[in-house]
Symmetry: C2
Subunit: 415 residues, 2 copies
C-alpha cells in the first residue's frame, strides 16, 4: 500500500483519539513537544544543515535559504510558539447555543475538531511545528507535506514530535509527514477525500492555485494579497503618507503589504509628490497612469497588468480616480479579496468603502499590515483565508474546528 | 461569448447591488415575486405540462413525474414559502463581535453575503423558487442550473421572477437560469471560479459526487444519509421500537430516514422480534447478520455492501454488536456523517455516543427524521451539509453568509 493510504488510515484512527482528549492532556502533549525540540536542538540543526547545504549547492537564492535555515534562536522561538498555543483557550466542546423546540427536543450546536487536516507547504520548517501545534490543540490529526528543500529538517522535527507525544502516552499518529516529496504524491494527496477533512495550502500563489485546481478535498485558500490604499479627497494627507509608507515598506514580502495606491484626483497634486518622496527614500519602484506621471515625472508608466499584481517587493502601482465610486470599482476589479484601506475624514465615504469593498479585511485610516492572527488578538495563526467559505481573513484556533448538533430527546418521533 | 460567462458577469454585477439592499427592499422584491407566481399560475402550469408530457413520453417513473408536476396547490405553497422567508430575520449586517486592540484599532466581524451562489439541481421546479428566495433574502445573486426534465417550468418561473423584481426596481440579474442543460455546461459551471463564490448541488448521490469531484469552485456537499439507530443494552425498548419504525417508515425516501439498526446483543433477543413485527407491517425488507437471522429467521442475509447503503426505500440492515464501542466503530465506519441516534437510559453511554460519533447531528432517544432546517427552528432550508467546512447539518439563511472584518483606525501603522 502506498504511503498516503497508510498514513491517511493512521491519521484517521488517531483523530478519533485526539478529538476526545481533555485540554489538560493536549497541553501536556504540547509541553512535551516544546521541551523535546529544545532538548534535541543539535540534531535538528544537523539535519537542517543537509537541507541548507543542498540548497546552496543548487544555487537557491539567499532569501529562500534564509527561510530554510534553523539555528538556536529559531528553534527556541518554535518552542516558545508552542508555549503560547498552550496558553490559549481550547475552543473544543463549547456549545454555542442550545434551545428547546416545541416538541421538547433540546438542540445544541457544539464545537468539535475537523478531523484530519492536510497541510501542503514549501520550504519553511517552522511551519511543521506550528501547524502540528495548532492542529493538536484543536483535537485534530495532521498530515504534513512540506517541500523537498526542507525534507531532512522536517523528518527530524516530526520524529522528535512523535517521540515526545509517545513519552506522555499521546497518539504519535496525530502527526505524520509525507516523505515522498514528488509532485505526483502531492496531487494524490489533494484527492485523499477518504482520510482528509480539509486541505490548507501555505506558500506562493503557484502552490495555492495548484491545490485549488486539483483538490477534491475541501480547501481553504490562503494568502495572495493585492492590497490597496485609497486616499480619499478629504483625507488627512500626513496620516495617509505615513500609512502608505508603512504598508508598502515595513515588510514588502508579505501578503498584507500594500501593492497599489489609489488616489482621488482632487488631492493627487498635493499628495503624490510627498508620497513619492517618501517611497523613493526606500527605493520603491513606482508605476502609474498618465495623470500620476504628469504630476510626478519619475513615475513610470503602468501596464494594465500592473494593477493586478502582487509584487511582494519594493514596487507599487498608482491609479488616479475621479471619485470614490471609481476607486471602489477599481479595487473590486483588481483585488484578491485580502485587505483594503481607505484614508478619509468623511463619514459617508468611510461607510461606503467598508460596505462596498469585497475583501476579508477593510480598514479606515490604518495600515493593511494589521491583517494577521496575532494583531487581531487570536494569539496564533494558521494562515489568512481569501475565500468566503468557512473562514475569511486570519485563521486562528476557531477556524480549525467545525460544529456538530447534539440533540437530547425523550422519545420524540416525527408526525 | 458563452452563456455561462455572460450570466456569470451579470450575476457578479448584480451581487454588488443586492448585497447593499436594505432588508425592507429585499422583502419588497420577495413579496412582488410571491404575488407574480400566483398571478401567473396558468402560464406556469402550461409550461410545466410540456415538461410532464415529455417525461411521460420518455417513460420516466411515476415518483419522478410527481416531483416534476406543478398544480395550483403547489404553486400556492411555493408562494407561501416565500412569505415565510420574508418573515425571517435578515442575518446580513450583524457585527458578531467588535473589540478594541491595545493599539486603539477597533476590529469587528460583520456578517455579509457570499456573493454569487451556484445551485445545480435535478427535476424539482420548486427548488428554483426556493433557492432564489433564500439567496435573495441573504443579499446574494444566484445562478441556477436545473435538470433538463424541468427546463420549460424553470424558464417560465425565472422569467416571472425577473419581471417581478424589475417591477419594484430590483436588479433582475440577481437570478439567472442556465438554459443549456447539457452535462458539458454543468461541468464548465463547476470551474467558474471567476464568478461563483460557492456551488451547492441538490439531488441524488451521483450528482453530488460529480460536483465534488469536478468542481474547483468551493462546494457545500449536501444530502446523502446512511443513518443508524443504535439500541443500547439499557434502552427503553418500547421507545426504541417507536423511534425505529418512525425513522424507517415515516418517509423512507429522504436523507434523514434510518437505513440501519444496530443492536446490543444482550437485548437483541427481546427487541428484534418486536422491531421486525413492526417493520414487516410496512413491508420493510430486512437484511442482517447471522445473529440477527438466528433470532428472527425472516431476516435475510446482509452483505458487507448493505451496511454502506442509503436505500431510500422500505429496506433496512441489522447489525448485532457486543458493546457500545463496537456500535460506535461500526457506525463511524459506514455512516455518511449525517444523522445518528442512540436509544438508551444510561447516562455514560449517551455521552459516549454524543462525543464519539462523527456526524452532523447526533441524537439521544429521538428519531433521526428531525434533521431538517424547519424542525431545527431555522424557518427555511437550502439543504443539509454532510461536510465539515463552513456549514454542517441543516443550512438556513445564516449558512448563505460569510463575514468580513471591518477595522476602524485613526492612523495606526505597524511597528
Amino acid at each position: 500500500m502506498d504511503e498516503l493510504i497508510i498514513k491517511g488510515q493512521k491519521a484517521k484512527q488517531a483523530s478519533f483519539i485526539v478529538s476526545q482528549l481533555s485540554s489538560n492532556d493536549k497541553n501536556k502533549g504540547l509541553k512535551a513537544v516544546a521541551k523535546a525540540l529544545l532538548d534535541n536542538e543539535k540534531d535538528i540543526i544537523e539535519a537542517n544543515k543537509m537541507d541548507v547545504l543542498r540548497a546552496e549547492e543548487n544555487g537557491i537564492k539567499g532569501s529562500l535559504v534564509d527561510r530554510l535555515t534553523l539555528n538556536t534562536d529559531r528553534i527556541k522561538s518554535m518552542a516558545e510558539g508552542i508555549i503560547k498555543i498552550i496558553q490559549l483557550d481550547d475552543p473544543i466542546g463549547e456549545v454555542k447555543w442550545m434551545k428547546k423546540r416545541p416538541n421538547g427536543l433540546e438542540i445544541g450546536k457544539k464545537v468539535v475538531p475537523l478531523g484530519v487536516i492536510g497541510i501542503i507547504y514549501e520550504a519553511r520548517p517552522n511551519v511543521t511545528v506550528d501547524a502540528f501545534a495548532l492542529c493538536f490543540k484543536t483535537g485534530n490529526a495532521v498530515i504534513l507535506r512540506g517541500g523537498k528543500e526542507a525534507i531532512h529538517s522536517n523528518l527530524k522535527i516530526v520524529e522528535i514530535i512523535k517521540k515526545a507525544l509517545l513519552s506522555v502516552s499521546m497518539p504519535s499518529d496525530a502527526v505524520s509527514l509525507i516523505e515522498d516529496t514528488s509532485r505526483e504524491v502531492a496531487t494524490k494527496m489533494m484527492k485523499l477525500n477518504e482520510y482528509l477533512d480539509v486541505l490548507i495550502p501555505r506558500g506562493g500563489s503557484g502552490l495555492i492555485q495548484a491545490v485549488v485546481n486539483n483538490s477534491t478535498v475541501p480547501v481553504i485558500e490562503t494568502g495572495v494579497g493585492n492590497c490597496h490604499i485609497y486616499v480619499d479627497k478629504e483625507a488627512n494627507l500626513v496620516m495617509a503618507k505615513d500609512i502608505l509608507i508603512n504598508a508598502k515598506t515595513q515588510r514588502p514580502g508579505v501578503c498584507n503589504a500594500c501593492e497599489s495606491l489609489v488616489i482621488h484626483a482632487d488631492v493627487a497634486e498635493e499628495f503624490l509628490p510627498m508620497a513619492c518622496e517618501g517611497l523613493l527614500k526606500y527605493n520603491v519602484d513606482i508605476v502609474g497612469d498618465k495623470i500620476a506621471k504628469s504630476i510626478v515625472p519619475k513615475i513610470k508608466p503602468a501596464s494594465e497588468d500592473d494593477y493586478g499584481k502582487e509584487y511582494l517587493d519594493y514596487k507599487i502601482s498608482v491609479k488616479v480616480v475621479s471619485d470614490i465610486d471609481e476607486a471602489i470599482n477599481h479595487i473590486n476589479k483588481y483585488n484578491t479579496k485580502h485587505s483594503e484601506s481607505i484614508i478619509t475624514e468623511n463619514y459617508s465615504n468611510a461607510r461606503l468603502f467598508l460596505d462596498k469593498i469585497d475583501a476579508a479585511a477593510v480598514y479606515v485610516n490604518a495600515s493593511t499590515r494589521f491583517t494577521d492572527g496575532f494583531e487581531f488578538g487570536f494569539g496564533a495563526e494558521i494562515g489568512i483565508s481569501t475565500q468566503k467559505l468557512h473562514a475569511r481573513g486570519p485563521m486562528g484556533l476557531n477556524e480549525l474546528t467545525t460544529t456538530k448538533y447534539v440533540i437530547y430527546g425523550n422519545g420524540q418521533i416525527r408526525d
